[in-house]
Amino acid sequence: MKFKYEIEGGNFSKAGNASSEVKKILKQLNVPPPIIKRLVVALYEGEVNVVAHAWNGCIYVEIEPERIDVKIEDKGPGIPDIEQAMQEGFSTASQAVREMGFGAGMGLPNMKKNADQLNISSKVGKGTIVELVIFLNGKR
């Protein structure tokens, strides 16, 4: 089953809406709560990243009996050094974003922690694609 959510860059009041929608679907599918939690936390971090850094983006979620695939694709500044961005505490978020309680530099590390597979590709000045997988049979 496929779902698609558009994300608006800079609109923090809507950050988290897509994650909530996906959470509702997973609850209806009787996915075990710990798995829902991992997926939603990873997804929310990804959603906030798009809102905080990109101009706009899209979340694609595909749910199958054994796995959930998420692709978060944005048009934005891109990430020049992905390895550096994966380090805990590294952040390029503006002061304004930090004051709202975002941009602590835990986004990507947190996604890695919660996803079974994580793949990031980025083109500076164009945008970023984050792909993550969570397996439903509990095997990480």
Binding site: M1, G16, S19, S20, K23, K24, I25, K27, Q28, L29, N30, V31, P33, P34, I36, K37, V40, V41, Y44, I63, P65, G101, L136
Partner: protein, 459 residues
């Protein structure tokens, strides 16, 4: 644990219900449907928050439980009274007077629910220091505990497993009476409840084998009785001195009001009242969007217990009066002296058992089957108009689609689908009317000048 029968206190009076959609539209868990012209509440989805009772234009939703007649089965008849009952009276009516009137009604003992609030507060602080996951959530409001069980099961581990005052005080006073030499079989403890959720909590307790209470009494019922008797006394100017009661501290008096628990807790604490506000916040909490909060006080009613559905008085006045009363008791200790002697006993009896999820969200237990059903729901949504009018007897198109997949309704229940079916000659006008009568009751669309707002209404 009463898994099979999930008791709920709110009932529909079929005589009074005329099948409108007010309750169905306000229910925060989507538990209400209209069938045969009457509202019906899904027992396992209902958290007894009372929103439907507030919304009903003809008082057709009522609280069934009232155990007042049962008190005389016991020799020792204890009333457990929450502060919000007192808060409904003007300040010239004293606590002692209210309690002496209650004894005239037949109670042998009158105790205050918040007597154990200070002890509970101290225990909650201790338990939350040990908590693995923050914020911890208070178990005070039974509607909220149920809401978390059915809608936010992943947060259940964060609910503090400490008894709320009603249970803690019932356990405490029962023990004291037994120690005075009263036969346990002779003791009946009755809680004067401001809301429906506490009735359900007594009748099918969560995380407990059996409630420590023997019954509940509807607060609006007892308020009217007390009010009349107090008024008579004042008219006869025979003001009885009543008896001296153990005093409550200002914080205990305010314990059941919004912010009442937060004021005594450590760290960053939030108090949130009204069930939709709570749902909105729990959604965020579940997404891990909330950081650095240590404690959550969550109450289903606006203004917490002062806004309970069975509290007759205005909730804002009740809050103001209790604040004023609290000022008079400055300096009273949060933990009363008489409890200190029982601190060993209480520390063994303040805990509650495991809270089990009762998820109502899943379309099917089996994940593969649930996926198949969700596909069907999404397919049905292609046809439903998305107007969310409620004319099918479900609160919105999504609910109808889910009901159809659960085989509890059919696509032709939608009046707009009926139109399309008629257009394609797949449904006769006669048949369409029969479907509508099945949902909204026989002859429902006939002219009737006696209905609400019509020519002969209120004549």
């Amino acid at each position: 644990m009463a898994e099979a029968g999930f008791y709920h206190a709110l009932k529909v009076d079929d005589e009074l219900c005329y099948g409108c959609t007010h309750c169905m539209n306000v229910c925060p868990t989507g538990a209400i449907r209209i069938r045969n012209g009457k509202a019906s509440i899904r027992a396992d989805w209902c958290v007894d928050c009372g929103e439907c009772m507030r919304a009903c234009p003809v008082d057709a939703i009522y609280v069934e439980q009232d155990d007042f007649d049962k008190i005389f089965r016991f020799k020792c008849r204890v009333a457990l009274v929450p502060a919000v009952l007192i808060g409904q009276f003007q300040s010239k009516v004293t606590e002692a007077e209210i309690f002496s009137v209650m004894r005239e009604l037949g109670f042998t003992h009158v105790f205050q629910t918040e007597h154990t609030a200070g002890l509970i507060n101290r225990t909650m602080i201790e338990v939350s220091r040990e908590a693995m996951q923050k914020p911890v959530i208070s178990s005070f409001c039974p509607a909220i505990v149920r809401l978390i069980q059915i809608k936010f099961p992943s947060l259940l581990d964060q609910v503090l497993r400490v008894k709320p005052p009603i249970d803690a005080s019932a356990v405490y006073f029962r023990k004291r009476l037994e120690d005075e030499g009263i036969d346990p079989a002779d003791i009946g403890i009755f809680y004067v409840t401001p809301c429906a959720a506490k009735i359900a909590a007594v009748k099918s307790p969560v995380g407990e084998e059996k409630s420590p209470l023997d019954g509940v009494i509807n607060m609006s019922f007892i308020y009217n009785k007390i009010y009349r008797m107090v008024k008579n006394r004042h008219n006869n100017s025979s003001i009885s001195p009543g008896e001296m009661l153990p005093l409550l501290s200002p914080r205990s008096i305010k314990h059941s009001l919004t912010g009442g628990e937060v004021s005594g807790m450590e760290g960053r604490c939030l108090a949130i009242d009204e069930i939709h506000n709570v749902i909105e916040f729990l959604e965020k909490l579940e997404n891990d969007e909330i950081e650095g909060v240590d404690f959550l006080e969550l109450r289903a009613c606006d203004q917490s217990c002062a806004g309970g559905v069975l509290v007759g008085g205005n909730r804002f006045l009740t809050v103001e009066r209790l604040h004023k009363r609290a000022v008079r008791f400055e300096g009273v200790a949060d933990i009363p002296g008489d409890i200190k002697a029982y601190s060993n006993f209480m520390s063994k009896n303040l805990g509650i058992g495991e809270l089990k999820p009762r998820s109502m969200m899943a379309l099917d237990e089996d994940m593969g089957e649930a996926m198949r059903k969700m596909q069907q729901v999404r397919h049905l949504m292609c046809f439903l108009p998305g107007i969310d009018c409620g004319a099918c007897g479900a609160p919105n198109c999504q609910s109808l689609a889910e009901d159809i997949v659960r085989r509890e309704s059919q696509l032709s229940a939608c009046v707009f689908i009926q139109r399309m079916m008629e257009k394609h000659s797949k449904l006769s006008g006669e048949h369409a009317l029969r479907i509508i009568e099945k949902i909204w009751g026989k002859n429902r669309l006939d002219k009737n000048c006696n209905k609400k707002g019509a020519e002969n209404d209120s004549e």
